[in-house]
């Protein structure tokens, strides 16, 4: 496939600036028929801008257009709106799902391209009133899904589907467009679990065998290595390299992308047998939609970093949320030898537990509030910190809040204009650091951390993990890390529990063999 075949897309010498700030500098990109072409780069490297240009998004044209030219199937084209791109046969699978939850899979796939039949009324009043041909629509949907080897009921409502399946519905929608020639995948695996991602990757391969070209944008380098034939690396708007897969390695790509070499964290060995149990969970059942916990027993030792892994939807996320009282839960939890009442977030927080939520924007932050207020809010509520007494009432102590916030901003390297900036203006990685600062303000003895690196770029990822290790080693904080990324768990945890079907399948050392983790994740054998 390398280099042969017809060139489908050629973007030549593309440059773009926003208000005098060059965000793309002379990018050349070509995609052959049936090729899977990877684009990697940290957040802000220019990947999204490049795709916005390809799709003729209005944000490009309203800010002065771009320089360079685009050829599609050998002919120069002007793409001035997403409709032009669609007409050429370029499709996009979005990072956020653009699906209507209340509609069935078929309806979503055929949305605005429904197959219709004539009826009496439509003959008189025009094609807008034609009857929907449900049968053929269902068949089309089924066909599109079959091309992905996905066996989803085509009449199921999208609202109830797992996240992974929604992604496939979105892909199926693009595939159903007959003349599709080039598909762009923008971070398609960001919200998927490892198995779902694997299914997606094999679907990509099948599409490319059918002659559809693919532009694949992702953070996850091993996925790029698995499916792409060629890889373009962007850094700060510059095309750092374009390489054939056979000529490069993950390490090299990572280095090109970040600009400096990444050191992998060394694993540490801690003797856990002598340590006290700080958190004892028995018969925990949590009714968290999509992450139900059936029956979990765990003993967390003081001062360890305990990992919780497993596939999405198996209940690993539910454990921390259940203990913290965010979802209805049953069972008994002992902290430092004393029972805590679950289903009561306030008491749990008071006892010295804290949670870094997996839903950063939904649960973790007050998006419209300033960085500093986000950091101090729970500490004010729970511990009555940052208050100044005036007679019989207390007001927030502005100067104390400011100095604490500045301290945190400096310690955690939160990139913001000032502590007054609303958090919604910060990047994902910096928002995560605000969440960490918020947890630190509570000075917890045990910190639950759920999916701390989801949706943040590789550089910020490492800093977040480093911070967790530092908190554990310097402050002796016990950390329970829940993550979908096994590599992340194995890099910093002392022990890793794998959850499947709402139960603990087994607890492994971080250096256990891959196969063992794999078996537990698949629920193959249970140590009960």
């Amino acid at each position: 496939m390398e280099g042969n075949g017809q060139i489908v897309l050629e973007m030549k010498n593309i440059s773009k600036e926003y208000y005098g700030n060059k965000v793309l500098k002379g990018i050349n990109l070509s995609v052959h028929k049936g090729e899977i072409h990877g684009i990697v780069g940290e957040n802000g490297a220019g990947k999204s801008t490049l795709m916005n240009i390809l799709f003729g998004m209005s944000v490009i044209h309203s800010t002065g257009g771009f320089e360079g030219s685009i050829e599609f199937l050998g002919k120069p084209v002007t793409i001035s709106s997403p409709f032009d791109a669609m007409a050429l046969g370029i499709g996009m699978v979005h990072q956020e799902f653009m699906l209507i939850p209340g509609y069935s899979v078929t309806e979503n796939i055929k949305l605005n391209r429904e197959t219709t039949k004539e009826n009496v009324i439509s003959r008189i009043l025009g094609p807008g009133l034609q009857t929907l041909d449900w049968k053929s629509m269902g068949q089309d949907a089924k066909k599109a899904l079959a091309r992905l080897e996905m066996h989803i009921d085509e009449w199921a409502k999208v609202a109830g589907l797992p996240v992974g399946h929604m992604q496939f519905v979105e892909i199926a929608r693009e595939l159903d467009k007959e003349h599709i020639k080039l598909l762009v995948f923008d971070e398609p695996t960001a919200v998927l679990t490892e198995t779902e991602a694997d299914t997606l990757l094999s679907a990509l391969r099948r599409l490319s065998e059918n002659g559809i070209s693919i532009l694949f944008i992702t953070h996850r380098l091993h996925e790029i290595m698995e499916v792409c034939q060629r890889i373009t690396v962007l850094r700060d708007g510059v095309q750092v390299a374009s390489k054939l897969k056979s000529e490069t390695t993950i390490e090299e790509l990572a280095q090109l992308m970040v600009g400096h070499s990444i050191e992998y964290m060394g694993k540490r060995k801690v003797n856990l047998t002598e340590r006290k149990t700080i958190l004892k969970i028995r018969d925990l059942k949590v009714l968290m939609p999509g992450e139900t916990v059936q029956k979990v027993d765990l003993d967390i030792k003081e001062g360890e970093i305990f990992g919780i892994g497993g596939l999405a939807g198996q209940g690993k996320i539910g454990i921390a949320n259940g203990v913290m009282g965010l979802y209805d839960s049953y069972g008994s939890v002992e902290f430092e030898g004393k029972e805590i009442s679950i289903n009561n977030p306030r008491e749990v927080l008071k006892r010295g537990l804290a949670l870094l939520s997996e839903d950063r924007r939904g649960v973790g932050l007050l998006l419209d509030m300033s960085v500093e207020m986000n950091i101090i809010a729970p500490a004010v509520e729970i511990q009555r910190k940052f208050l100044k007494k005036f007679g019989f009432f207390s007001l927030l102590d502005r100067s104390q809040i400011r100095s604490f916030a500045l301290d945190m901003i400096q310690k955690l390297d939160i990139r913001c204009l000032s502590p007054d900036q609303p958090v919604k203006r910060l990047s994902g990685g910096n928002q995560q650091k605000v969440c960490i600062a918020k947890a630190l303000a509570l000075e917890p003895k045990l910190l639950f951390v759920s999916e701390p690196t989801r949706g943040i770029d590789i550089g910020a990822k490492k800093r977040v993990l480093d911070t967790l290790v530092e908190l554990n080693q310097k402050n002796g904080m016990t950390i329970v890390l829940t993550s979908s990324e096994l590599a992340e768990l194995r890099s910093i945890c002392d022990r890793i529990a794998i959850i499947s079907e709402g139960r603990v399948m087994g607890i492994l050392d971080p250096d256990a063999e891959d196969a063992q983790f794999g078996l537990l994740m698949a629920g193959e054998y249970a140590v009960r």
Binding site: L326, L349, G362, G364, V380, F393, L395
Partner: protein, 358 residues
Amino acid sequence: MQYDNKKSQATVILEPILKTIRSFGIPRIIIILFLVSLWFSAAFLSIPFPALLYDTLIRLGMNTVLTLSMLPSILVGTSLFFGLPLGIICGLLGGVMSIELNLKGLTAFFAAIGFSIPLAILVGYGYGLLLNRVKGSEMTVGTYVGFAFVSLMSFGWVTLPFKNPEMAWAIGKGIRVTVSLEGRFSNVLNKLWAFEIYGIKIPTGALVFMGVLCLIVWLFLRTRVGLAMQECGMNPKFAKASGIDVDRMRILGTIISTILGAIGILTYAQGFGFLQLYEAPMYMGFIAAAAILIGGATLKTAKISHVIVGTFLFQGILVVALPVANTVATLGSLAEISRIIVSNGIILYALAQKGGNE
């Protein structure tokens, strides 16, 4: 490309200016221009300006507390406080009781507030419970609860056993539609510490009273509970994860709004000189809502400054528009019609703007 570059340079220069205008709010600029143009036409029609300004200040003092009652409700996440008639009725009951006890002057005014607060707490608590069951449609439900309560109290006013002949119907039972406050607490705040400067009378007492209430709310928002309340409004999930009982906070916010509504109507009544019962409280909520929206609040965020600026602009326009309209066209109820058009038009505009530019 050349053209594009020029365009982008132009936007570079214009951007900061536009940003400043946007942060102040184009609607506010339009309304200020409208108010100024009304002042000019008033001057042109030789309507005395000091009198207009005095009226504006009086109305600012009368209405600010009612507008202020919107604030806790917006911040706690139950949107505009269309349950305001509930608070108003509590206030009116307090006022009626103070007359029944034959109190006079400032004592009567503060006694009325004292009587109405326990009622407002009770009513606010019940209303808060109701709002917790209809999350997401508080405004619609609030509007109808307000209407229903006003109608229900119309029975109440007829049957309540008040005896004072100043209020009772001649037939002996029930209270009249309007109760004069003459000799009770009419103008007690307006006249308190009042003085004159450059021919403009300043109703010091009323302005101080309103200022104190605003200050209390401002301080409250800077306490632990105040912060918790705002967290509930901004992100209930965040609040829950921070150990805050969101439903309790919503009830608390509703109670505070109801209390402010009760105090608000008494402040209004002292300036107006009458207690208006029966159907009168029905549409008061809309006027207060329009005022705070004009001031720059949205359905999710509001500040004390929005309350004061909004009330000043809204009442300022009404005060000037009335005599101007009366002089220009001497048609019967034109002033009243224009008031309704302006207030409802503003509410419509503000609601259409919700969820717009950040």
